[in-house]
Symmetry: C2
Subunit: 454 residues, 2 copies
């Protein structure tokens, strides 16, 4: 390894888990007891400024170790790369990672290995933005359209979006970008909150938190549904009564239903005017979403947090299956693939409302929506970023919410850096928290390490 140029010297991984299942935060019809977790990595360099790149995959507990192993399997692709080359062209890393033919067999471009690629690619973008001294949204919004197009892998999507059309969209997006940047810095980007609507919350807590959300300036909230129709009718009625007719209420089934159930259940809740039904069925079911959409209009159909890659998003758009496209910052192959997805959404004129929550997803995805607003879609109309109010304290640059809006991050990077003390405390299984937890459980005769079994 030459010492003449700074290089990536290490890819360090961490298995970080938070015990969120204790409070039923994050509970929904498919995920009754998540322990929000991060398979986390740091790219270390020998650059004079000591710059590091941070990235992660969000998981909900068990299997976070598998995700960490997958990130580790990418080490040889990134350690040794010259820092300046990497930062000037993160797309070449993204292409090398998705193009590793042996690793590709494990997907291709889906699941554990693809999320690992996304984490490493996002860490490279964090490094690039830090080195540029810019928040990522601004680095992207300031970039030349030609360069942004060079960052996109068009394989498998040229039947919906060509590089030429992508360039046209990005050039169009430059008009008025300076004014939109000012507006963004002044006002922020609209958010909506899922905090009232977790399935495990009693009605009183739902009502209280829904009222609080409106008082806090949110114009949209979201309720988890899909476990029991009578419960959902009662909860939806309570929520509508709490927020009044002027606030949008999205509902989210977290993939609980078959196509016919999705249609019947959504229509049974229609009297409470739900704004969108999210994840009505399998995220893989393009044709199923199209069928649901035709049958539940004017309720909108939203999906994306579990959509595995740009190829499935492409088809959701081609099949008129979506009213709202929900990108996720840590599910697909990182910023580069999300650029492809934002461009596809722009080409089809479908608004992007990101999935967030989890661990650090709000911190990441705000950058992508802000870029989209400033330099691509040019509007925040009918666009909102999900907001969930927990776990932000573990990040060095947590999101700022003011009056229902995400404040534009100003610190250089991708807001992906977790506090060292949080990493130490919640590392699994040997961080302070889990070691202490295990000691308690051992007293009870429960090993505490696995929730499931025969």
């Amino acid at each position: 390894m030459s010492s003449t140029v700074p290089r990536v010297t290490a890819l360090d991984t961490y298995d970080i888990r938070f015990p969120t299942s204790r409070e039923l935060d994050g509970s929904d019809a498919m995920n009754p007891d998540p322990d929000y977790s991060a398979a986390y990595l740091v790219l270390r360099t020998d650059a004079a400024d000591g710059a590091e790149g941070h990235g992660f995959t969000f998981t909900i507990g068990r299997g976070n170790d598998v995700q960490v192993a997958a990130i580790g399997a990418l080490r040889a692709h990134v350690v040794g790369r010259p820092v300046d080359e990497l930062c000037a062209d993160p797309g070449s890393l993204a292409r090398d990672l998705t193009g590793d033919s042996q690793l590709r067999w494990l997907g291709p471009e889906k699941g554990v290995m693809h999320m690992a690629i996304g984490a490493v690619v996002n860490a490279a973008w964090d490094l690039a933005a830090k080195r540029a001294g810019l928040p990522l949204w601004q680095l992207l919004a300031d970039a030349e359209p030609e360069w942004l197009v060079s960052q996109v892998d068009f394989r498998y999507i040229t039947d919906a979006l060509t590089p030429e059309n992508a360039l046209r969209l990005l050039r169009r997006g430059r008009a008025g970008a300076a004014e939109r940047t000012e507006r963004l810095l002044a006002r922020g980007y609209p958010g909506y909150t899922t905090s009232p609507g977790w399935l495990g919350y009693p009605d009183e807590k739902l009502t209280r938190l829904a009222r609080q959300a409106v008082a806090d300036g949110f114009t949209q909230i979201k309720l988890k549904v899909g476990a029991d129709l009578h419960d959902d009718i009662r909860r939806m009625r309570a929520a509508r009564a709490a927020v009044g007719p002027g606030v949008r209420i999205a509902i989210d089934a977290n993939q609980r239903w078959n196509v016919r159930e999705a249609i019947e259940w959504t229509n049974a809740l229609a009297e409470f005017d739900p704004y969108w039904i999210e994840e009505p069925t399998s995220p893989d079911d393009v044709l199923g979403h199209a069928a649901v959409r035709r049958a539940v209009a004017p309720v909108k159909v939203a999906t994306g947090e579990h959509v595995q890659n740009r190829v499935v998003f492409k088809q959701l758009l081609q099949a008129d299956a979506l009213d709202v496209l929900q990108i996720d910052a840590a599910r697909v192959g990182g910023v580069n693939e999300n650029l492809a997805i934002l461009l596809l959404a722009a080409e089809y004129g479908v608004p992007v409302c990101p999935h967030a929550g989890g661990v650090g997803l709000c911190e990441l995805v705000q950058h992508l929506s802000m870029f989209d607003y400033v330099a691509l879609s040019g509007t925040t109309e009918d666009r909102v970023i999900e907001y969930v109010g927990h776990l932000h304290e573990h990040f060095t640059e947590p999101v700022h919410i003011r009056d229902g809006h995400y404040g534009a991050p100003l610190a250089p990077g991708f807001s992906a850096t977790m506090r060292p003390e949080s990493i130490a405390r919640y590392s699994y299984p040997d961080g302070e928290f889990w070691a202490a937890d295990r000691a308690t459980k051992d007293d009870d005769g429960d090993d505490g390490s696995e929730g499931a079994v025969a």
Copy 2:
């Protein structure tokens, strides 16, 4: 753990890799240098007969360790289960594994975690068939239709196949099953061979092996295509000249193309009468396959070896995107999900021609096709199982090929058991083969452990 009934006592994992890249066996347009590998597991029991269940995921080298870790993550779900209950209802294990909400986040039902589930579920079926004293195909063919339906997870597919229709198909399949079993035992199930057509082989070897295939009784061969059109035209011409007009030649692009390229390239080879074009584009692209199919007829469209689950197969059928459905024994969630896929294919009247080759895929998938013939589709017309002639020597019950047909396996189980000496020799990185290989490489100053890097 009670000692009164036999239970699963351990799930042991092995990282097994064969150095196939040295001979370009298995080379294609997307996979230039695979090292065929298995993330392998053994379910051990304390049953008096000492029965074990063996299963594995096939990979092509790097990342096999990640796959092994994913299989290990399922240990708590299976260790401790009563053997008799498990064997009487492998579907309950399959449902528990795919239903683990925390692990589900890592897919859902796709990629590394889903293939791990498939490996464990297949091991349970191997155990069940061994305990029943039957080859798996026969256990399935003898089973009551009601029980087979109980083994299928209909979530997300009821818009294409209801349990009632599945039962109807299986009842219909019983008529003539005894005669078909006799015919199967006498004649075997038709195969086709990919051995001549690897992309890395020189034309002379292609021609020689193609002639040999015909002499060996095969009525179909397959060529890898997609790297260079002029090369493909030359190779296809040579292959057609070698086998004559009466032998089918399938071509396989291994996902190399965008939709338009797939159409143009396939049509450019049409003069040589290819029988099917396999994996013309991304396995995720249902609508893309439908577009290709419309444009290349009468050349048939085949795909499936990388199709992640029953939901995508369902859509390929709904969208009229397929002429030939290629199941893979180790890509989806095991025998149970393959039952769902075979039933979907039967419902839509599409022939199933399994993907095989790899490590042990021929050994596994023959059981599924033989069940399909005896008790579901009732025919072998236009149905062939892929055959590749390498690595069978590592299995205790390797496939038998006679006159272009797979002989029906007679030994109890799923033919999944690898020889202990092969496991020992090819375990990575410390088995004899790899230790010796590393010692040689160390002399050359190459660490030999990773093929890629910056």
